[in-house]
């Protein structure tokens, strides 16, 4: 039996926290706009793209990926915050399994990502990317799938971090490289072969590629998707399963950290 109430309550709590932390809310909403309209518009002026797709349109799936990335990692790393401020100990002593806790965190990260992605998607028609009902449904699935995989990665990171001080390190050494080496800013096929290797192990690259499948017109050519649809889906499902399983088994060791958190 799936313990729905505990999972639901953990998700609801994350949403409440998200809306009550003004700074986080505002930066989450402003960040994609900055990338899209300032960076995107600027670069559109200086690069020439093949007919049919502007750089701004090409950038849109990438920025959508960025929204999912930040939101998923942030949710996962809130586990570190919870550990430091005690709420995690309350959760750990409740009669729920480690898998339930990890699942609830993954669900929170995914739903928060979906919420922010939905806001961004409202802007798609403004830059000449019309959205049909079919695309919206597809994108919902793709965003959730990407978010689950990335929250899984984040939970794995969170199980290794024991204080919020390492947060900046994660941002610089995990989040930004993940975004820059994702195919969101430039097509993967145009990168040197050595960098392409890094992209192959980056779950965000497959997520953004899925978004390209759903958003960019078929005539996009080099600016279009880099991988086949099925391999994107397969890799993301595999990533999710592995990271969630690993995070769950490492989560058990969290009990050790109970005291560290108390200091």
């Amino acid at each position: 039996m799936i313990p729905l109430r505990p999972i639901q309550s953990i998700v609801v709590r994350e949403f409440k926290r998200f809306f009550r932390q003004r700074g986080r809310l505002l930066s989450a909403l402003a960040r994609p706009l900055l990338w899209l309209f300032i960076l995107g518009t600027g670069i559109t002026r200086i690069v020439e793209t093949p007919a049919g797709v502007s750089y701004l349109q090409f950038l849109f799936p990438g920025v959508l990926g960025m929204v999912v990335l930040f939101s998923s990692i942030h949710s996962a790393l809130s586990t570190v915050y919870d550990r430091e401020f005690g709420v995690m100990r309350l959760i750990l002593v409740a009669p729920i399994s480690r898998l339930t806790i990890v699942s609830a965190k993954v669900a929170s990260g995914s739903l928060l990502s979906l919420f922010q992605a939905a806001i961004l998607l409202c802007l798609a028609p403004l830059i000449g990317l019309p959205l049909g009902l079919g695309q919206i449904l597809l994108l919902t699935v793709y965003v959730l799938l990407t978010a689950v995989a990335i929250t899984g990665v984040g939970m794995l990171l969170a199980s290794r971090i024991d204080s919020l001080e390492n947060f900046a390190g994660v941002m610089n050494f995990v989040v930004f490289p993940m975004f820059f080496l994702s195919g969101g800013l430039y097509p993967v096929k145009l990168l040197p072969a050595t960098l392409q290797w890094v992209i192959y192990v980056n779950p965000l690259a497959y997520g953004i590629d899925l978004f390209k499948h759903a958003l960019l017109p078929v005539e996009a050519m080099t600016l279009g998707p880099d991988f086949p649809l099925a391999s994107n889906l397969g890799v993301l499902v595999a990533f999710s399963a592995v990271t969630i399983a690993a995070a769950t088994s490492l989560f058990d060791k969290e009990a050790r950290l109970v005291r560290l958190a108390a200091r």
Binding site: R20, G86, A94, P95
Partner: protein, 305 residues
């Protein structure tokens, strides 16, 4: 069936032995106080009993279940109020309680009823919609405890529930605990720094450097003292101690609170004392022995929280 049994429970952190061969038994419905100075191993013991830490050696059973192999069953039977607050400061008081009910998988109807009842018992009803971060320390502590008992655990662990509170708030919390015990027959395992709080418990376990050094009712513990404790203030404690030792064949102890003497009949002893050393004494006080004297007797040190 005992509520809590431990056998030779040991927890080591590297070379440090935080809990060293603890064997105790707590009866159902009992109010058990776990007393010890800072770093004695109280919190570590509670965390092992509540399945948050894995014992290095020995075994523990809570509510009849093994704390390692049946951690799940143990968690269903217990409530735990941590030493440091574990409230979510970004939620309201009500939301914190609601969250705890959901973690225990209570239905909405039961949760609503319990929360209303608990808010009333802990006199928090008019604060329920306040943000937790805006509550005073005392109110927050009350909310912490309220949350620990929401799901009516059979065994409730409280790690220093009253630390840092003023005497009135402390009294109030003990009243709540007492009501709880009478209404729900909950077993209470309480750690405390306050000796006078331990005095009111059914039994007291005294722990020092991870070892249990005494375990009995407060009255029995104090039986080692046949008489009264005389406390003497003076400018020249050491000289006076030597003189008293010679004159009366007693063994006074020099402490921060002055000279402590154990005598059979304090009232009869005082005139003799004053006759011999009246000019060296700045003040005298006679008390029935407290747990502090028990601790001093067992360890040779004053009890310092």
């Amino acid at each position: 069936m005992p509520a809590i049994v431990t056998e030779n429970l040991v927890k080591r952190f590297g070379d440090l032995t935080a809990v060293d061969g603890l064997t105790i038994e707590v009866r159902p419905g009992e109010l058990f106080a776990f007393l010890g100075p800072n770093g004695a191993g109280k919190t570590t013991t509670i965390h092992m009993l509540c399945t948050l830490l894995r014992p290095t050696a020995g075994s523990a059973r809570v509510a009849g279940h093994d704390c390692v192999k049946e951690a799940w069953a143990v968690r269903r039977a217990i409530g735990l109020v941590f030493q440091e607050s574990t409230l979510d400061k970004d939620l309201t008081a009500y939301e914190n309680l609601w969250f705890a009910c959901c973690l225990q998988n209570l239905t909405s109807r039961v949760a609503t009823e319990r929360i209303a009842e608990i808010l009333r018992l802990f006199e928090l009803t008019d604060r329920k919609d306040h943000m937790t971060k805006h509550l005073s320390g005392g109110l927050r502590r009350r909310l912490d405890i309220a949350r620990g008992v929401l799901h009516r655990p059979r065994i409730l662990f409280l790690d220093e529930p009253t630390v840092g509170l003023d005497p009135q708030a402390r009294r109030q919390i003990w009243q709540f605990l007492d009501t709880l015990r009478r209404q729900e027959e909950t077993t209470l395992f309480v750690t405390t720094h306050y000796l006078e709080e331990a005095e009111t418990c059914d039994r007291v376990g005294i722990i020092d450097h991870g070892r249990l050094i005494a375990l009995d009712t407060p009255e029995e513990l104090k039986q080692v003292f046949k008489g009264d404790v005389v406390q003497i203030r003076s400018d020249r404690l050491n000289e006076l101690a030597r003189a008293i030792r010679e004159e009366f064949q007693l063994s006074p102890q020099v402490t921060d609170r002055g000279l402590l003497l154990e005598v059979t009949d304090g009232e009869a002893f005082l005139p003799m004392l004053i006759r011999s050393f009246g000019d060296q004494i700045a003040g005298i006080n006679i008390q029935r022995p407290s747990l502090n004297e028990v601790f001093l007797h067992l360890t040779g040190r004053e009890f310092k929280p």
